[in-house]
């Protein structure tokens, strides 16, 4: 009984402790941004990254690429800051507000974790233009907010079709990091694409963790266990939408031996993953966050900014399929018609499995 009580106390202090940690370190990292630009009347862009920040070789780096392009082509100046693991809502609000306070009038928030803070800070600063990546909920809605999402299901549809065309065992797999509506879009597209090509195909789906436990995006050990299970059950291609846990999926493909493949996600992982597994990456579902970021900054710069929802789809180059390694060149003639049908709208890809 006493232990139960202690545990409760621990849980409470832990939550409080983490919250405190998040907001404390915020002042440090918030101020550590870099200020570059051409001075004068240049547009001042504030970037608030998700956990990991610049250099994560994935989601945030893609956003940084968009900012870098805006810096060199549009001559904007920028300040960057990043989120901490497990930080409190107030820490994110404070980060956005401090960007606004230091004179940055165009703010990009990377990741759905910022939804509520963007909604709140945007309301308090009606003259500042905001963009949020990966959220289209009412939380972040506002007259000065562009809500940028991507049609992950469309890119996933194409890699699903590629997997179904390439499988020799008629059995493929999917590993999702955390079971959220966002990751379900990946799964839904993948299932639909694979079944379109081969209706009889067997597809295993596994999610590593359930909300509110988001460790599934950073646990390669679980990723490997899940993918091992799918390979050993007979699958020969596994697609992951599991962030950092994906490294485990690649290792599982390597351990499974010849003729076993993995499909990467977000960036072209045949270029960014551990060199010893790059040759096993059949293709990657690329999500060009950079396109969204650049487009938003450009629209503010030339005065064409429009608040509201904006989805970057296959037709805008917001999502796509990587061809590094040339493993899917032989099925290009079968994938291209599908791509065109998605773009023309004659194939409607579902967003829930």
């Amino acid at each position: 009984m006493r232990r139960a009580l202690t545990m409760t106390v621990v849980a409470t202090t832990l939550t409080l402790g983490l919250a405190a940690c998040g907001s404390d370190s915020d002042t440090g990292s918030g101020g550590s941004g870099t200020g570059t630009g051409k001075g004068g009347g240049a547009l001042k862009v504030g970037m608030a990254y998700d956990v990991g920040g610049r250099g994560d070789q994935s989601f945030n780096d893609s956003a940084a690429k968009g900012l870098d392009k805006a810096k060199s082509e549009l001559g904007v100046s920028a300040k960057e800051s990043e989120a901490n693991t497990g930080e409190a809502e107030s820490a994110r609000e404070q980060r956005l507000q401090s960007l606004v306070d230091s004179g940055y009038t165009t703010i990009v928030a990377i990741g759905f974790a910022y939804a509520k803070s963007v909604g709140k800070v945007a309301k308090a600063n009606p003259d500042v233009k905001f963009a949020i990546i990966d959220d289209a909920s009412d939380d972040s809605k506002g007259d000065n907010v562009e809500q940028i999402t991507f049609a992950e299901q469309e890119g996933s549809y194409l890699v699903g079709a590629a997997a179904a065309l390439k499988t020799k065992t008629n059995h493929i797999g999917f590993v999702g990091g955390v079971q959220t509506p966002l990751i379900k879009k990946f799964e839904a597209g993948y299932l639909a694409g694979a079944k379109k090509v081969k209706p009889s195909i067997k597809i295993d789906s596994t999610y590593l963790t359930q909300l509110p436990d988001v460790s599934g995006f950073a646990d390669p050990a679980k990723g490997k266990t899940a993918a091992d299970g799918q390979f050993q059950a007979g699958a020969d291609i596994v697609y992951h939408a599991a962030g950092g846990s994906g490294a485990g999926v690649f290792n599982a493909a390597k351990a499974a031996g010849a003729n076993h493949w993995a499909i990467g996600v977000d960036s072209d992982q045949a270029l960014t993953a551990d060199p010893s597994v790059r040759s096993l990456i059949l293709t990657s579902m690329v999500k060009n966050v950079n396109v969204g970021v650049y487009d938003f900054i450009k629209s503010v710069k030339d005065g064409s900014f429009k608040a509201g929802k904006r989805e970057f789809a296959l037709k805008d180059g917001g999502v796509g399929v990587a061809t590094t390694g040339g493993h899917i060149d032989d099925i290009k003639t079968k994938l291209d018609p599908l791509r065109e049908q998605i773009i023309s709208g004659s194939i409607k890809v579902p967003t829930t499995p």
Binding site: L14, G55, D213
Partner: protein, 421 residues
């Protein structure tokens, strides 16, 4: 120093002898379990429930939990509650990756242990030196460790090929061992899907092939912990500090020193758990990769009644159920529901008819029949439900075994020298 330990007016005893189960019953229940598992596999068609792959995955899942739990055991047997295991483990993941990249995989293990020791030294200084509440100190460590690690990782891994602020470059692998010449015959036998023989082959293949050297070290550490703590004078003194430090002091034991030993051993083991996670299970450091395994290790220790064998069993149970749901939740967990249903009905009947415990018996029967219905009415288990399996199974075992858990008597109490006077 033989029959128990009589200190002052209190008698501190080993676990009561009368509760020890004779070896022949253990063997018989092992065989019965195998037959049951084999029958289950054939009835449900879930061939993965005792395959070599799942056993091997269960071992990999169990090792970090077991090592963390073993760390908790050392500390709590010396009377210091160590909720900071998670933090020490996080430090261990970074230490292992950093030292591993600099000096090779073996030094990586050492780096993990040293990083864990640093965390433990802080905990020891706070709790034993300054008399800070054990929980407060441990929680503080769990808050400091992720922050410190995240800072260190971004300082050390950014700019390396394949590294970044939240991940290390891929790490070099430690050696793996297999008993020679058995892998192929066992795999063949397993594929035949014969009753009992294939099951034994699968389990043996999982336990005897492709074992990481750290897994072997972990198993040896469980045995070594038992031997040191329960069979040597050093262990007796250390445990006496957890049971009655005042009495130990009157017999001339340097209680502070023994508590420090316990906490440091705890940090080393938790650091090794982190090293295993980064080097063996994942092949890289990744921010947040411990995912609460330190807390689960602590739970495994309590589950195991503060004994090495018990906590090893708890870790394996947890590792197995987690592997089962990650590998193929649909059919594995579905099959395990049938097993749970049958076991619950049997236990319920036994409680009712033999032990005349109406309440426990009826509850077990009702839950068992409910599980049976669930098995019959569904073909698959949804992934939301499957994710809870490891926790549900642990709860069920705890509830039904109704074992009397006994923590060390002075566990978590702040001790000051001379306070008994």
């Amino acid at each position: 120093m033989t029959a128990g330990l009589e200190i002052g007016t209190r008698v501190v005893q080993d676990a009561p002898r009368s509760r020890r189960i004779p070896t022949k019953y253990l063997l018989a229940s092992g065989v019965a379990g195998l037959v049951l598992l084999s029958l289950l596999r054939i009835v449900t068609g879930a061939n993965d429930i005792d395959s070599g792959g799942i056993i091997s995955a269960a071992l990999i899942g169990a090792v970090p939990i077991g090592l963390a739990g073993l760390g908790g055991l050392w500390s709590e047997r010396a009377g210091v509650v160590n909720i900071g295991l998670e933090g020490m483990m996080i430090l261990g993941t970074w230490g292992a990756a950093w030292a591993g990249i600099k000096w090779g995989p073996w030094m990586g293990l050492v780096g993990g242990i040293v990083a864990g020791l640093v965390g433990a030294a802080i905990h020891a200084l706070a709790t034993i030196g300054f008399g800070v509440d054990h929980i407060v100190s441990g929680v503080a460590l769990n808050v400091i460790a992720p922050g410190a690690t995240s800072y260190l990782a971004s300082r050390t891994f950014t700019g390396l090929q394949g590294g970044g602020p939240t991940q290390s470059p891929p790490l070099k692998q430690l050696p793996r061992f297999s008993v020679p010449g058995i892998e192929d015959p066992l795999t063949d036998l397993e594929r035949k899907q014969w009753f009992l023989l294939s099951d034994v082959a699968g389990i043996l293949r999982g336990l005897l092939t492709n074992l990481s050297v750290v897994t072997i070290i972990a198993i040896l550490l469980v045995v070594a912990t038992w031997w040191i703590l329960w069979r040597t004078p050093f262990g007796l003194r250390l445990r006496s500090c957890g049971e009655s430090p005042v009495a130990a002091e009157t017999l001339g034991v340097n209680v502070y020193l023994y508590k420090v030993y316990g906490v440091l051993a705890s940090g080393a083991l938790a650091g090794l758990a982190g090293a295993f996670l980064a080097q063996v299970a994942a092949n890289a450091y990744r921010e947040g990769q411990t995912g609460g395994r330190g807390y689960i290790g602590l739970a495994a220790m309590i589950f195991g009644n503060w004994r090495p064998g018990g906590l090893a069993g708890g870790s394996l149970l947890f590792g197995y159920t987690d592997a089962a749901r990650l590998r193929n939740a649909g059919s594995n967990i579905h099959a395990l529901i049938l097993l749970a249903a049958v076991l619950l009905v049997v236990i319920g009947l036994w409680q009712l008819l033999r032990r005349r415990r109406v309440v426990q018996g009826v509850i077990a029967l009702v839950v068992g029949v409910g599980a049976l219905l669930m098995y019959l009415l569904t073909d698959q288990v949804s992934s939301e439900l499957a994710a809870t399996t490891p926790y549900v199974v642990t709860l069920l075992v705890m509830a039904l075994a109704s074992q009397r858990l006994r923590m060390p008597a002075a566990d978590g109490k702040i001790y000051r020298r001379g306070e008994g006077q």
